[in-house]
Amino acid sequence: MPIRIVTTHLEFEGQVYEQRVVLEGDEPAVWDADAKLGVVGQPVPRVDGRERVTGGAQFTYDVALPGMLIAVGLRSPHPHARVASVNAARAEVAPGVRAVYTRFNTEGLINPNGERPIFAEEVVYQGQEVAVVLAETRQQAIDALRLIAVEYEPLPFVVDPEAALAVEAPHVQTTRENNSIGEDWPKIYERGDVEKGFAEADVIAETRFTTEAALHNSMETHGGVASWDGHTLTLWSSTQNIYGARQQVAAALGLHQNQVHVIKRYLGGGFGSKFDAHNSGLLAAWAAYHLGRPVKYMLSREEENLAAGNRPPSVQTYRIGAKRDGALTAIELRAVGNVGAFGGWFSPVSLPAKEMYLCPNVRATDAPARTNLGTQGSFRAPGVVEGIAGLEVALDNLARELALDPLELRRKNYAPSYQIIEKPYAVKTLREAYDRGAERIGWATRDAEERRYPRGRDSSLRRGVGMASQFWGGDGGPPAQAIAKLLPDGSAVIVTGTQDLGTGTRTVLAQIAAEELGLPLAAVRVELGETEFGVFSPPSGGSMTLASVGPAVRMAAAGARREAMEIVSHLAEAPIDALDVRDGVILNRETGKEMGSLGSFLGQLEGHEVTARGMRGPNAEEVIVRTFGTQFAEVEVDIATGQVRVLRVVAAHDCGRIVNPLTFSSQMEGGIIQGIGMALFEQRIVDERLGVSVNPNFGDYKVPTIRDVPEIEIITVGQPNPFANTLGALGAGEPPIIPTPGAIANAFAHAVGRAPHGLPLTPDRVLALLAE
């Protein structure tokens, strides 16, 4: 089949990338709203649910190989220091120890992106690698760690982002001229004339809003298990990006990519933090290659929380101007970010200010600073969660000053089209989400006395209802490939190289294939998570997996079905147009008569497997495809103790076609719960005098418990989106977390009559705010 090379645009985690991709063939027609589908759209339980709940599912953490060495890391306790010497002599001869790696014996060992040595002379954050011990047992490795003597020469450090940007600030890295992340930063976006906009405003609301570093806290930490057999390096990697990991390991070890096999059967969470092989996986590969022994290096929780990424803290300062009727005239935002020691980009905190509401005059500055803290990593809608929280709180502040209903203010400033470049939205159903969500939460009665004061005004309990909204991409894009095979018995194998982050990818891809192939779901098996036997799939993130890989699977399945029906047509001596296949049975379209199972035909052939390839087609260039949604939260605040509880969340989202309502609602609930953590509890706490985090653990860094989970009601808005892809489906991974913290912050403000200055709403902050 002839190929073609096209240039297409892909939006990933808020950034737009232009990329050239190979395409072949034609995708099947879009499943539009009228498509009659039998498997897609059904609330099918996960096809791998049994493995997951019985412990049969093998996560990277579970991999144990004969002769496997265990690696344990020694990390810098200092935020900034020169590693003058590392004396590992005693550790090297300790029982069970097979190697100790430091900067003095790992020449050429660079990090996965090829930017810098893993073991550096100058460590620039608490938790940076200084040495790794490889031993027969974990206990032996831990014992040996204590025998390593490191001589540190402490250097000046800075952890506050605003301080870091000052001219006289200590340099995060001694060799750099300043603490900016690059010459083109800070980035300033402008449209219209902001000064003119403020001059036209009747009211200007100013808001300063802060968010803290949130840690991904995937249940499975970063790491890998590597094995080298002299020909092939196999890496079981806890990654969202097996092909990226393959490329990185091959480059690091000087191997051909065909000598590196990356496996990720099940992933214990990633949330955006695992887009590469990680230093730990690369170290495992390096050690296995050099020692000839399998090596396992999985981070401890503390290592994970110090050195495996975070949602960077932000300080957002808004000025929003509006006419008396609420029409926005100007938005100005300066967002300072704390991207840590090696931050090389800044998640787009300013994006909501540019896009969410109709406003002709906008100036938005993203000013990230490097500091001597752990480097940021993308985290479930990076930047946009923080940016929406700040913007929506600022908008509620404006609504208070204008004495307007917050929802009315948003309706008044509804953005009908994309404002950053002039393009229409493919579909925007946010008004419907407003309507339906508002009705479900009871927006109209939110000021009712009995609702705001559930136990009367003498009680210290106050309740409030607030809202915030989201937009996100999530329409996916090329490149993504899939192969569909029909085996002689009429069962199917779908081969991809994608990753199931735990979201149900295996299940939804099986549904798509079963639908297209006319097979029962049980007759379809989906392969993923292996580079050697798979075909290329992009990293799983950006709410793109379903929308990128799903259409490739569908196209492959369509091709396989076409060939299979040709075969049946020949064998049955019936015109192909007269044949159909449903639930694995060949039917005569006109008579409806069953002609036998698909397998009964394919099995007549000598050793033939039907094989077809599918590729995700290009994205629509003329429109902007978005998910939209809004969330309402009802909270209860005890103003005497500062305790905040979320009572209810109503989430109304348009993610196009819902392929599986169960996995969809899991995504919604998970995102909302994670958002509650950010709103109420989660915070990396840094001792600024020492330059260290004091709570890199599950005890003091508090994620939500099941008792913190409120009633969650999910409303699906909208229809299959014909511009998104041939499924009409958009990703649902990131949308639910985006509005959650902002909605809670606004509900809190409604409850207590005062806007918070930031998140999380821990009792200390709440009581301080109320005492102002």
């Binding site: 500062g642 418990t705 009792p763």
Partner: protein
């Protein structure tokens, strides 16, 4: 965690014998705290002496006069589930119900709960803090939102136990055996502000073993509550807790009072001035408010824990009012 020897004992006396002359030994019961300290390398006992086989240290018994005896190895879950105990001393069930998690309550024992180390992140982290023999308290000038608002020593950590404030409010005594035989001490004798010579909260000697906690019979007109404020709805130490046990006459006057705050000092903080204010008075909202002001008198919050003053005030007020309310309702 470092390597260690492990041995088991069948009784408290055997434990005392096993501890004798051992500098680097540690008793283990549920291990809920000890294991995490060992994993963090805060402590590294060379010998672990397992007390769990000592079956006669388990269980709850009620004497004819109403006094209650809780074996040192009784788990928090057992305390939580014991209906007779909950009937007699509801304050104890309230104290354990929100402690840790169900899994931890199944492991954690009463004795271990009293002996646990504090949760200061500098103690638990790689810092040579004063309790670990260093020369300074990192929390005093550092991150201290969970720390003390009443302190007079060299350490500003708070005692994390939920049971200890409740037991102090019940005037409980801790039965201990050591080389010199048995002795009993009050909760506020067991848990005290650390000193230069004893850089931990528990005053027990290294070769002493808790056998049981006894709670004297409470007056028939006594009622108690335990209130706890947390940063989330489960699995969190008290930011501030309050335990109040009041005996009230039929006309609502306070006959006896024991009021204790947790989460505010290095040991549960009994409030004698509050108790003195209450005794002889009828509980009214005004009285509770005055008592609450007395409760926080002298508090000197650190940079990040000023909120605890408000919490302590409010919990004291609520605890007093709730006890009085319980008496009225009961």
């Amino acid at each position: 965690m470092r390597a260690f020897d492990h041995s088991a004992v069948q009784s408290a006396d055997e434990a005392v014998a096993a501890l004798r002359g051992q500098d680097e030994a540690s008793l283990i019961a549920g291990g809920a705290d000890l294991l995490s300290l060992m994993k963090a390398d805060v402590v590294a006992p060379a010998h672990i002496i397992d007390l769990k086989p000592a079956r006669d240290l388990r269980g709850v018994s009620v004497a004819a006069d109403g006094a209650v005896r809780l074996g040192a190895l009784t788990t928090l879950a057992e305390i939580e589930r014991d209906e007779a105990l909950a009937e007699r001393l509801p304050i104890l069930r309230a104290a354990v119900r929100d402690a840790a998690t169900p899994q931890l309550r199944n492991m954690a024992t009463l004795g271990g709960n009293l002996m646990q180390r504090n949760r200061c992140w500098y103690l638990r982290g790689p810092y040579a803090c004063w309790q670990k023999g260093g020369d300074r308290c990192f929390a005093r000038e550092g991150q201290n939102k969970y720390h003390a608002i009443f302190y007079d020593g060299s350490c500003v950590a708070v005692h994390p136990s939920d049971l200890a404030p409740a037991l102090l409010a019940l005037d409980a005594r801790v039965e201990v055996v050591g080389p010199a035989g048995p002795r009993a001490l009050a909760i506020d004798e067991l848990l005290q502000t650390p000193t230069a010579e004893r850089r931990r909260e528990a005053t027990l000697a290294a070769d002493e073993v808790i056998v049981a906690v006894t709670v004297p019979a409470q007056p028939a007109n006594a009622h108690g509550v335990y209130l706890k404020l947390m940063e989330r709805q489960a699995w969190a130490y008290a930011l501030v807790s309050a335990a109040a046990q009041l005996a009230l006459t039929e006309d609502g006057r306070v006959e006896q009072a024991r009021v204790v705050l947790g989460g505010v000092a290095s040991a549960p903080r009994r409030l004698p001035a509050v108790e003195a204010l209450l005794v002889g008075q009828a509980v009214t909202p005004e009285l509770a408010t005055r008592a609450a002001e007395v409760a926080i008198t002298g508090a000197t919050p650190l940079a990040h824990n000023g909120y605890k003053v408000q919490m302590a005030r409010e919990l004291t007020r609520r605890a007093i009012l709730q006890v009085a309310g319980a008496q009225r309702d009961g």
